[in-house]
Amino acid sequence: MSAERGSGAARTVTAAVTGESRANEPAAGRLWFGLLGGPSAWAVAFVSTYLVAESTCVRGGALTTAGVIWLAAALVGAAAAVAAWRAQRTVGGAFANGPLREPQARSDEPVGRRFLSAAGIVLSGTFTVVSLVQSLPLFVGVGC
């Protein structure tokens, strides 16, 4: 390809990546919440439940609070996964359009949002399940 053709291609790409009209795109905040909401809630719950469990075991009391924290983390994670799910519907069906093949395909489309929404569904969904699983010992009687 000549330099002239290269510059033409650059113009095409530029027009795509700078795309002025993005009325239907989900906000970046929602996408980031979708991706990081689940793991962040898990991380906060993890440290909190550890401190609560240690405190309860040292000073006495019930471990119910720790269980409630895990459930709250699971709720936040689920909310994040749902946010990511809704975002991916806005960007045109992340999974339907093949996020797994997308990186390899040559494309002028700004597909980062599609990727981020798909990643959010998987990651926050995973941490929702993990938070629920981590609350189980507290409800089946594992104690100090």
């Binding site: 401190l51 040559r106 104690g143």
Partner: protein, 882 residues
């Protein structure tokens, strides 16, 4: 478009001049170029690696036979401490930081890292900290309390001057690490090539992003912990002294909150390296890219939930131990996902077994074994049995040598053409691999058995007749084979750099952007910024790869014959439009800007062009600042606090010079120059107008945000200490300390809250173009801030107890001291911005420094209010106080 050759040549000459690295001895200290500093990082870390290796050989010699007297117990303690500390703090992480410094801009399509002076500052601090650490050998005060430095062993009663070298030398290194972490993260987020959307970010760049963010959090925790321990040792604080209400387990918590993520700070980039090499040698894209990236993110998060699995034998509550066991198991799922992705990528392919691929295969085998034993020790009952035995030594060497050092060696073979312009010898590489692989397994596999037989670690000898002899002898022989393997790498590096094969461009037929850079790599990486449209921009889709395969085969054949093709070795224009299907280099942006250093800034998610980031040039300020910080750390070691003061002053002056823009660096001046270069040419490409300065897009904001994130971790760590000490204390406040008064602290808190308003008003004013408003509001904010600081210091001074009284007093003064320091720092920044406002540096468009300082002050107000609530209200809460 510049079509006439002389004009283009002139522009290119100016461009290359602006990127020129200063020559000569003095110039060596001024360079801020990412390639130079990345290479120095790696070379320096390999030097420390060699030192750590020699220490390991001494230890293995000592343990080769029972009741050996080759080393005395004290020397053995010193050696395992220095070996572990060097490997963890001075070799692996710095090497990976160096690799990131070197390769990231090329991989992302940037001309340099986001903050070139910070690159230099991080490197010099690492070098000086390492030298301070190793200078302990010169004065025969070698640290001997282990790489984990548990108190009371590391306390002043059992470890004298030696631990000061450990704490303060490593403190400097940690600070440098945090600086580098911030820089790497901002680079990945903001300096990617146009079109490099998040799903086209190479796996290694993702890995470096996660590593960098983890460094910012984990190293900050360790920095605070080491400062607390030094306060205990030097000033009689009591954070870790149980006699005075402290708790040595607090150190273990803080250390492992750093220490376990540290393992993944090393491991995640190692997997990133593998995810780059496997597709290249399998000649197909990485399978399950999305899940590989998610596995790395998951690992990054979960790594912060594993710390207490190092403390299973300290008496954790059963339910809490269960949390950590579950989290430890989760890591195996994430790691397994990546291993399956690599297998799927290789499945059905005919990978070329060149040296990088050999090390990758070795990595998978060894890491798998280390991972399995990791899952075993994550189980409380088994851990209780094998804790502090050689089983654990074997486990973590399988993870760290197999899981990290093997990929590092693969990386050296793979990217050496970019580093040195030479290919490493394949024949020596084969020797290197087999010696290392066999030597490693000989050294460490028998230690599993020795550990299961009960051989304790960190003990300088063992009695005969326990069945340990054969395992230790094999291990020692293996250690020398392993050393021969590492030595062969050194020989290969030296020989190949001196008279190695000149590689063709993209010698492995790789698909990622770093291989589009001409060889040898120019200082600016890319003369024309690339626009990418694929994760593998150098590869075509589908049938296009056949060409690459053919080219790979040619290169491999030529290499095997010892004569690489010399065609295409360099791309003279600095870009090659149309050469690769997934990347374009626009000739209209070739060598622009030509009079100053800059690189395009893009949006985080979709990599849309946003602006130009001006990059700083060569300077002595970074090395002088690092020298100041090092001198400040040296003061307590040599009992010369004046030296600390002088160092702090030097560092502060240098920071002021660093941050104060020269006339050429002021935003408006730069913006004018940007317009001249980008907008004025009538044929300027349409998106170049977006590339001209725009404050909201600048990476400075991200850097400030990450700096504040690190600040939040500092506050969080001290609050954790506060609550943990409270948990195990019968009364709170402890001893005869009365409950803190409320009236004056409440007044101080009100002043603090009020001081936020003028700053908000000032930044709003300048956005509207009201420069006078900015000056006035900032002035008022400064007065209120100073009033708060004065009242706060007065409150603390009249608290009526000294920090050395008990643990409550220590943590009270520690937290109050943090409030003072943060306020002072924020006020200094505010003052500098106010001075700039007085000089008329800001207007409605160019006011980034004012916005950033407002952000810093906002954080200071919020964090200090939280600290105040804990200091003054928490002891009064029902069920919390005594």
């Amino acid at each position: 478009m510049i079509t006439d050759a002389p004009r283009l040549r002139d522009r290119v000459e100016r461009f290359e001049g602006s990127w020129r690295v200063p020559r000569g001895f003095a110039g060596w200290f001024a360079t801020v170029n990412n390639s130079d500093l990345g290479a120095r990082y790696m070379v320096t870390s390999l030097g420390f690696f060699a030192a750590a290796g020699v220490m390991a050989l001494f230890m293995r010699l000592q343990l080769s036979v029972p009741e050996n007297t080759f080393l005395d117990p004290e020397t053995y303690n010193q050696l395992f401490t220095m070996h572990g500390s060097t490997m963890m703090y001075l070799f692996v992480v710095p090497f990976l930081e160096g690799l990131a410094n070197f390769i990231l801009p090329q991989m992302l399509g940037a001309r340099d890292l986001a903050y070139p002076r910070l690159t230099a500052f991080g490197y010099w601090l690492y070098l000086f900290g390492g030298l301070v650490f190793f200078s302990s050998f010169l004065v025969d005060a070698v640290p001997d309390a282990g790489w984990f430095a548990y108190p009371p062993l590391s306390g002043i009663d059992f470890s004298g001057l030696a631990m000061d070298f450990w704490l303060l030398g490593l403190g400097a290194i940690e600070l440098g690490g945090i600086a580098t972490g911030i820089e790497l993260a901002v680079t990945v987020l903001k300096l990617r090539a146009v079109g490099m959307t998040l799903n086209r970010v190479p796996p290694l760049a993702w890995a470096f992003l996660i590593m960098a963010l983890a460094i910012v959090v984990a190293f900050t925790v360790l920095l605070v912990a080491t400062l607390l321990l030094e306060l205990d040792r030097a000033f009689g604080f009591n954070f870790f002294d149980p006699v005075a209400g402290g708790n040595p387990l607090l150190w273990q918590h803080l250390f492992w909150i750093f220490g376990h993520p540290e393992v993944y700070i090393m491991f995640i980039p190692a997997t990133g390296i593998v995810s780059m090499i496997v597709p290249t040698f399998a000649r197909r894209p990485l399978a399950a890219y999305l899940y590989v990236v998610l596995a790395m993110i998951l690992t990054g998060f979960v790594s912060f939930g594993l710390w207490a699995h190092h403390m299973f034998t300290t008496g954790l509550p059963l339910v809490a131990a269960g949390f950590f066991t579950a989290a430890s198991m989760m890591i195996a799922l994430a790691s397994g996902t990546q291993v399956f992705a690599w297998i799927a990528t290789l499945w059905g392919s005919r990978p070329r077994l060149a040296a990088p691929m050999k090390f990758v295969i070795g990595f998978v085998v060894i890491f798998l074994l280390g991972g399995v034993t990791g899952v075993m020790v994550a189980s409380v009952p088994l851990d209780a049995q094998v804790h502090d035995t050689h089983f654990v030594v074997a486990h973590f060497h399988y993870v760290l040598i197999g899981g990290v050092v093997f990929p590092i060696m693969a990386a050296l073979y793979y990217w050496m053409p970019l580093l040195s312009g030479k290919l490493l010898s394949e024949r020596l590489g084969t020797w290197n691999f087999w010696l290392t692989f066999v030597g490693f397994n000989m050294t460490f596999f028998p230690l599993h058995i020795a550990g299961l037989l009960g051989m304790p670690r960190r003990v300088y000898t063992y009695p005969p007749g326990l069945g340990l002899e054969p395992y230790n002898l094999i291990s020692t022989i293996g250690a020398f084979v392993l050393a021969a393997g590492f030595a062969s790498l050194l020989v290969n590096l030296v020989l190949s750099v001196r008279r190695g094969v000149d590689p063709p461009a993209d010698p492995w037929g790789a698909g990622t952007l770093e291989w589009a850079v001409p060889l040898p790599t120019p200082n600016y990486n890319f003369r024309a910024p690339p626009v990418v449209r694929s994760l593998y921009p150098l590869w075509g889709a589908g049938e296009g790869r056949a060409e690459e395969r053919a080219r790979d085969a040619d290169a491999a054949t030529a290499d095997a014959a010892g004569e690489a093709p010399d065609a295409d070795r360099a791309i003279p224009e600095g870009y090659a439009a149309g050469r690769w299907p997934g990347v374009t280099f626009d000739p209209r942006l070739d060598a622009i800007p030509s009079t100053f250093r800059a690189t395009p800034v893009t949006s985080v998610i979709d990599a849309v062009p946003q602006g130009i980031w001006n990059l700083t040039g060569p300077s002595y300020v970074p090395i002088l600042t690092a020298l100041g910080v090092t001198l400040a750390a040296l003061g307590p070691i040599v009992s010369a606090y004046w030296l600390s003061g002088a160092g702090a002053v030097l560092a502060a002056v240098c920071m002021a010079v660093w941050l104060w823009p020269t006339p050429d660096e002021r935003e408006r001046v730069l913006a004018r120059r940007e317009r001249e270069e980008y907008e004025d040419p009538p044929d300027a490409p349409e998106f170049s107008r977006r590339l001209v300065g725009k404050d909201t897009a600048e990476p400075g904001l991200w850097g400030v945000a990450m700096f504040l994130g690190s600040g939040a971790v500092v506050y969080g760590t001290l609050l954790f200490a506060y609550f943990y000490l409270r948990l195990y204390s019968g009364a709170w406040p402890q001893g005869a300390v009365p409950l803190p008064e409320l009236a004056l602290p409440a007044a101080a808190a009100v002043l603090l809250l009020l001081s936020g308003w003028p700053v908000v008003a000032g930044t709003r004013a300048i956005r509207r173009g009201n420069a006078r408003g900015l000056k006035n509001w900032l002035g008022m904010g400064l007065v209120l801030g100073l009033a708060f600081l004065g009242l706060h210091v007065w409150n603390v001074a009249r608290a009526g107890f000294v920090p050395s009284l008990n643990a409550y007093a220590s943590v009270f003064h520690g937290l109050a001291g943090l409030v003072s320091l943060m306020t002072l720092l924020a006020l200094a920044i505010q003052f500098a911005v106010w001075l700039r406002a007085l000089r008329g540096h800001f207007d409605s468009v160019y006011n980034a420094a004012a916005q950033h300082s407002g952000l810093v002050w906002g954080f200071t107000v919020a964090a200090n209010l939280v600290a105040y609530a804990v200091l003054y209200l928490a002891p009064r809460l029902a069920g919390f106080g005594s």
